[in-house]
C-alpha cells in the first residue's frame, strides 16, 4: 500500500512537476488596481510500469481592487484554469468543445468591505470570500469555514471561497467578536475531475 502511495503521490509531487509563474506588474486603471499572475505547470506521472502521462495545468489569476472611499473597499479575483489535455477518447467526443478545451473560469472572490461600519470598531465584509481561521497552513482543523478545494490535489490545502456576510467587532487588537452568515444552504468540497491522471 505504501508503495502504491509513493508511486501515485510522492513521485509525481517530487519529480513530475515543473512550474513557471509569471506575475504581471500591478497597474491602476480608473481607480482600479489590477494585478495577477499566470502559473504554468508541466506535470507528468511516472508509475511502476514507467508509463508517462503528461498533465499540463495552467492557471491565470486576475485581481481587481478599488477603494471608492476611505472606508469602502471592493475586491474581485477571477481564476481561469486550463487543463491542457485533450479529453476526447473517440471521434464523437470531438463535437464537444469542452473535450478539446477543458477550461474553467470562476469568480473566485468578489466582496465589498466596509470599515468602521455603523460603529468605529466594526468591519463588515459581504460577498464571496475566503474566511481564514487559525494560523496553520495545509492541515488546520480550525480553518473550516470554507470548503476544501481538492480539484487540484497538488495544491493541497486550498479552500473555496463562499458567499457570506462577515462582521468583525474589535474589542481590542488582541480580541474580536466575529459573526458570520453563509448565504448558501450547503457548500460542498470540490473533487478532482474524472480526467485527473493521478
Amino acid at each position: 500500500m505504501v508503495r502504491i502511495l509513493v508511486s501515485l503521490y510522492i513521485i509525481p509531487i517530487l519529480l513530475g512537476m515543473s512550474r513557471s509563474t509569471i506575475y504581471c506588474a500591478p497597474t491602476s486603471m480608473g481607480g482600479v488596481d489590477i494585478s495577477g499572475n499566470l502559473k504554468l505547470d508541466k506535470r507528468f506521472l511516472v508509475t511502476d510500469s514507467v508509463r508517462i502521462a503528461d498533465y499540463p495545468y495552467h492557471e491565470l489569476d486576475l485581481k481587481l481592487k478599488s477603494n471608492p472611499s476611505e472606508n469602502l473597499s471592493l475586491y474581485t479575483s477571477l481564476k481561469l484554469r486550463l487543463w491542457d489535455q485533450n479529453l476526447a477518447s473517440s471521434s464523437a467526443d470531438l463535437t464537444e468543445i469542452s473535450s478539446n478545451n477543458p477550461y474553467e473560469l470562476s469568480l473566485w472572490e468578489a466582496y465589498a468591505e466596509l470599515y468602521s461600519f455603523v460603529f468605529d470598531k466594526l468591519d463588515f465584509r459581504i460577498g464571496k470570500q475566503r474566511i481564514a481561521w487559525g494560523t496553520a497552513d495545509k492541515i488546520n482543523p480550525t480553518d473550516n469555514l470554507n470548503p476544501d478545494d481538492f480539484s487540484d490535489p497538488l495544491n493541497f490545502g486550498e479552500k473555496v471561497p463562499t458567499e457570506a456576510a462577515n462582521a468583525t467587532y474589535y474589542l481590542s487588537d488582541e480580541y474580536s467578536l466575529q459573526r458570520l452568515y453563509g448565504f448558501r444552504h450547503s457548500s460542498p468540497s470540490c473533487c478532482p475531475g474524472a480526467n485527473f491522471p493521478y
Binding site: 506588474a25 500591478p26 499572475n37 473597499s73 475586491y75 497552513d137 474589535y170
Partner: protein
Amino acid sequence: MRRLLEIGIALLLPIVLWAEIPRQSSAGGGDEILKKAEDAMNAPKDRTASVKLTLIDKDGNSKVRQIKMWQLGKEKRLIRFLSPADVKGVGFLVLSDNEMYLYMPAFKKIRRIASHVKNESFMGTDFSYNDIGKCQYTNDFTAETKEETEKEYVLELTPTPKSDVDYAKLIMWVDKANYIPSKIQFYNKKGTLLKVMENEDTEKIDGYWTPRKMIMKNLKTGHKTIMELATVVHDTGLKEDMFSKRMLKRAE
C-alpha cells in the same frame, strides 16, 4: 603621616582622572552616544515614506520592490508592499521589539514572527526582521566608544544577555554633526563580518536628519539591498489605531 597620605591622593587623583578621559568622549560614554544616535534616528513624532527596495545579487541581477512605510514614535512601524505582484499586499507590523506580525494576502492570515525567525531575511532582502523592525538599539546593545575621529565616533555594540539578536557584535560609525550612523558592521558569533550597512545622502527633511539611502551588503552571499526613500514626510499626526492587526489586514 596623614598629611603625606593627603598629598599622595592629591597627586594621584589627576592621574586617575586623566586615565579615564580616553574612555569618555566629549559627547559622553558609548551608551550615551548610542542613545543620541537612536534619538536622532527616531526624532520625528511620526514618519511616512515611500521606499524603493532594490535587491541585487552577486551577478548584478536586480529586482525592484516598492513599499510604503509608516512609523510612530520609536517603536511602532507598519510596512506595506505595493509591487511587484508576487509580494503586493504583504504587510509587516512592528508593535515593539518583541512583537512583530506578518500578513500574507495569499493565505489571508496574520502570523506573529517567532523570535527564532526574526534573524532571518525579511522578504528576500539583506535586512533581517530584526534589522527592519528594531528601532531602538539601546534595548539590545551596550556600547563602548572604540575610536573617535574628527568627524565620527566609532562604537562597539555588544548584545545584552536578554537580547534576541543573532549578532555577536556591531561596529557603528556615528556622525558627530548629526548623530546619524553612517555605517554599521554586523558580526556573527564566530566573529566573522557578516553584513555592512551604509547610510548615504543624509539630509534634513522637515527639520529631521534622514538618510535617503541605506545599503545593506551581505558579505557571505555577495547580495545587497538598496533602500531608497523616494518621498518622506514627518509629523503628519498618524494615529495609534493605524498600528494594529486590524489595519495590517487592510494592507491587501
